[in-house]
Structures are given as structure tokens and as C-alpha cells.
Amino acid sequence: MKGLRKIALNAAGLLVFAIAVFPVLWMVSTAFKPNTEIFSTTPKPLPAHPTLEHFDLVLNGGIAEVPFWAYLRNSALLALGTVLVSSLLALLAATAVARFRFRFRTTFLIMLLVVQMVPIEALVIPLFLDLKRLNMLDSLAGLLVVYIAFAVPFAIWMLRGFVAAVPRDLEDAAAIDGAGPVRTFFTVLLPLVAPGLVATSIFSFITAWNEFIFAFTFLDDQDKYTLPIMLQFFFGRSGNAWGPIMAASTLLTLPVIAFFLLVQRRMVAGLTAGAVKG
């Protein structure tokens, strides 16, 4: 009876696993299939004659005139810029809320909560006009500023738990040994918060990497497109070229999944740490 139940549970587990990963596997599998197999009337889970032709087309600019690398560079620049600036801002603010009691502290925390809930889809109209006025439309810099604002609130929220977890006595000890606040920060706090910082960074990275509506609205010049925009552009124009579309999707998706799996446990801890403290 007990053994039977265990088997049933594990079978259910495998089923959930299969449902969760199947669409992504189907994407990767389609990307490697030759066209005859993609449009076959009897689809097979794996490519019988795997081919790299779709990847070749995507990487060498066969699908959207501009080579894939240009879009990759734009996306990577934006994501890295977002990570650097938002992590720095988040680290400073998280230190403030985790280490100090000050007036407006609660206000600040509530503001962070509210801001995370603002529908950014609604802000695209005013921000479009603002950036237009500043002549920053159609530039990666304009997008970068916007992405930072979107990434920072969550980054602070997540990071403050990590900062709070560093024992205060360590900092006090460093202060007694004569280290100034800046030195204490860099030699004591920073190394200990580093794992949390990595997790937060990856989250910021994903925010920028996946973002669609702002890049779609602000960017005009095809050279400046990011990967999601390139993908949408191509999908909209040649909706039935599933091989190259899936190859491009694979190239966009796999880095994110890799990063995500890397930090999932920490990220979840950060997300729910407060909610379960009872």
C-alpha cells in the first residue's frame, strides 16, 4: 500500500516535470528539425535528421537582415548595464533599510511594494513622450534608464534580507579595529552579501533581457533592436518559418533558463523569506 502510494506520487511528479519542460523541449527539438519534419503530418518528439540550418540562418542574419550578434550585443549591453547600476543602488538602499532605523523607513518600504505593482504597461505612454522630449527615444541609453527603475525595487526587497542576515557584530568588530564605514562596507559587508548580490543581479538581468513592450515601443532603428524585438519582428513577418523562429527562441531562452536554475533556490528564499516567518 505504502509502496504503491510512493509510486503514484513519483509518477505524478514525473508528469508535472514533463508538462513543465515539454514546451521548451519542443522548441529546441523543432529548432533542430529539417522543414520536412517540422511540417510533417505525424510529428515526432525528436528530430530524425537533426540539422543546424535554422541556427545558421539566424546567426548569419538570414532572418532579419542584421546578424544575430548585433541583437545579442544590444540585449547583453542593456542587461549588464541594468545589473550594474541596479545592484549598486539596491545594495545602498538595502543597507539603509536593513541596518538603520530612520524616519520614512516604513514609507520607503511601502513605496517599494507599491511601485512593484504599478502596471508598467501603463507607463509606456508618458515615458515615451518624456524620452522623446529628451531625444532619448530609439537609444539603448533611454531604455537602460527605464530598466533600472523597474529592476531596483525588487532588487532592494530581495537584498535587504541578505544584508540583515549578516551579523552586525562583525561590522562592529571592524569598526573597533579602526576601519571606517567605507572600509567596513567593502571588507566585511560586501563579501558576505555577495551571494545575495549574485542572485539579485541575475533577477535584474532577466528583467532587462526579457523586456518587450518598452523596447518595442521606443526602438525604431533595426540595428538597435534587442533579442525579444528581433524575435517578434521575425515572427510577425514570417509567421510560418517555425524552424528559424524556434532556433532564435532557443538562443534567447537558454541563457535565461541556465541563470534561473543557477539561482532558483536563493531567489525563492528571498521572495518568500518574510512571508513564512509567521
Binding site: 511528479g13 514546451p23 521548451v24 519542443w26 532605523r101 509606456v124
Partner: protein
């Protein structure tokens, strides 16, 4: 908010709840200005890029902002004309209805399936649990653009896996002629695909949060319940649910907010030409940017309605979080 030093000086009597912050330190000025300097950059960024745009959105919803304004002419005040126009338009109510219905269906499905997955993960052995959780994360990590495109492909007409599968099933069960069925030709099938796609992506977050909550519960409670003869159904509603209620509250509110404003997936699946399938955020966007005659004021008015609805939901969220001591 940058020059906050006077505010601190004016409140000498305020006692920090934790004695730790009051420990004698040598860096007096650092302590006084420190936290404000540390949050200042964030406050500036959020004020300029999030609060100010919301204000602008409010102002613009009472204005006419079109091509002429885009060329630099000042905006024309039109009073409440934008709101009168949208509230009197049956199409607005159609998009609102679609937005709300989608949110109800998607949130319910996400929470039920996500919770079941969380409960399952909690019952599995350690290795198996990790393995399944890892797989579930893949769905979470997939970028919305890719997810929408993958599901468009799965539900596609030529070579689409779902139509192929439905055609294999006996006609008595699902009807025939699936192979040419276009899922994106009318709103209901489009929203069906959208729901599957969004639920697939948002279940993992619920599952993992529920799992984290379950791990924090004492096992003795369940032991006692089992001794008293309670089955799993009763144990869930009498023990798990009440204890994890705060988590469920947060998950419901967050899911409502996410599903209410879903944009990218619907944009990819339905596009801007397929007006019948619009939800509020797509409608706002298409008014503002969708044609050669952009109506940014009108788009702002619709976006403001969306924002107002979500702010009410957010207020519930903030209340729950404050009650749970999250802002301590």
C-alpha cells in the same frame, strides 16, 4: 526627500524600536545622514521614472495628445471627454470584460494547479522533489515572448502539435476537422491558448512559494490530524490553508495583478490588428501607438483606468504585507 536632515533633527524623541541602531558609534553624522544618502539615488530614480509618469498619465488622460502634440505643440485640454468617450463605448466594456474574465480564470487555475504542485513537491522524496522543482523552474524562466511564440507554434495550423493530437482523438469526444482549426481567429480560442500559456508560466511561482510555506509548518500537526482520522482534504483545509493564509493572500493578489495587465503574450498571439481579442492594456496601447493617428490622451485614460483598478488590488496587498510585518 534628499535634504531630510531637518526631519531627523525635529524628531529627537523618536526611539528606534531596536536598541541596536542606537549603539554608541563614532560616526555621528554618518548615522544621521547615512540612511538618507543611501536611499537617495533609488528615491530619485523611482520618483522620476515611476511616480512622475503616473502623474503625467493622470494629466494626459484629460488632454488631447496626438500627432500635432508629438510635433511639439502644447497639449489641448479636453476635460473629461476622453473618459466620456471610453465609458460610452461598448468596445471598452468588452475589453474590460475580457480582462476580468481572463484574470478570474487564469488566477484560479494558477492557484489550484500551483498549490497542488507545491503539495506534491512537499510529499516527494528529496531528490525527486529537487528534480521536479528544477523542471518546473524551466517554465518560470522562459521569457514571455518565447513562451507566447512556443504556444503559438504548439497551437498552430500547419504542423501544430495540439491540432494533430485533437485529430487523433475519437471524433465523438472532441469533434473532427481539427487539423485546420485556427486558434487565433476569434477571441475565445485565443484566450484559451493565452490562459494555458500564462498558467503554465505562473504556476511555478505559486508551487515554490507554497512549498516554502509547507516546509515551515510543524509536522506534528499533521500527525495529530491523522491520528484523529482526518483525510488529506480535511487536513489541507483545517491545517495547511489557515496557517498559510498569508502566503495565499499574497499569491492571489500578485497573480491578479500580473494576469490583469498581461500584455506581451497577448500582443504576440493576437497582435494589434485583432481588436476583438483586446484586453485593457492592449487597448490602451493600441489607442496610443496603434495607428498613424495616435491618440495618446485616450490611451492614457484607458491606462489610468487599468492603473486605478490595480491600485485597489495593491492596497489590499500592502495591507497584508504590513500586517505580516514585512515592512518592519
Amino acid at each position: 526627500m534628499i535634504d531630510t536632515a531637518p526631519a531627523v533633527r525635529k524628531a529627537p524623541g523618536r526611539k528606534a524600536p531596536s536598541g541596536r541602531a542606537r549603539r554608541p558609534r563614532r560616526r555621528r553624522t554618518g548615522r544621521r545622514h547615512g540612511p538618507y544618502l543611501l536611499i537617495a539615488p533609488t528615491v530619485v530614480v523611482i520618483a522620476v521614472l515611476m511616480f512622475w509618469p503616473v502623474v503625467q498619465l493622470g494629466i494626459m488622460s484629460f488632454q488631447k495628445v496626438g500627432n500635432r502634440q508629438l510635433r511639439g505643440e502644447p497639449a489641448e485640454n479636453v476635460g473629461t471627454a476622453n473618459f466620456e468617450a471610453i465609458l460610452g463605448d461598448p468596445f471598452f466594456w468588452q475589453t474590460l470584460r475580457q480582462t476580468v474574465l481572463f484574470a478570474i480564470v487564469a488566477v484560479s487555475a494558477t492557484l489550484v494547479l500551483g498549490t497542488l504542485t507545491g503539495l506534491l513537491l512537499n510529499r516527494l522524496g528529496r531528490r525527486m522533489s529537487r528534480f521536479v522543482a528544477g523542471g518546473v523552474m524551466v517554465a518560470w524562466a522562459t521569457p514571455p515572448v518565447t513562451a507566447a511564440i512556443i504556444f503559438s507554434w504548439l497551437f498552430g495550423t500547419t504542423g501544430g502539435l495540439v491540432n494533430w493530437f485533437l485529430d487523433l482523438l475519437p471524433d465523438a469526444l472532441v469533434g473532427g476537422g481539427w487539423s485546420d482549426f485556427n486558434w487565433f481567429a476569434s477571441p475565445l480560442p485565443t484566450y484559451t491558448v493565452l490562459t494555458v500559456c500564462v498558467v503554465w508560466q505562473s504556476c511555478p511561482f505559486v508551487a515554490v512559494s507554497v512549498l516554502a510555506g509547507l516546509k515551515s509548518l510543524p509536522g506534528e500537526l499533521y500527525e495529530a490530524a491523522r491520528v484523529d482520522g482526518a483525510g488529506p482534504w480535511r487536513a489541507f483545509w483545517k491545517i495547511t490553508f489557515p496557517l498559510l493564509k498569508p502566503i495565499f493572500m499574497v499569491l492571489v493578489v500578485m497573480s491578479v495583478i500580473w494576469d490583469f495587465k498581461v500584455f506581451t503574450q497577448l500582443f504576440i498571439m493576437a497582435g494589434m490588428a485583432n481588436r476583438d481579442a483586446f484586453n485593457l492594456s492592449l487597448y490602451a496601447y493600441s489607442e496610443a501607438f496603434g495607428s498613424l493617428n495616435p491618440k495618446l490622451g485616450m490611451g492614457s485614460a484607458i491606462a489610468l483606468v487599468l492603473t486605478a483598478i490595480l491600485l485597489v488590488v495593491t492596497a489590499v496587498y500592502v495591507r497584508v504585507m504590513v500586517r505580516q510585518g514585512e515592512t518592519e
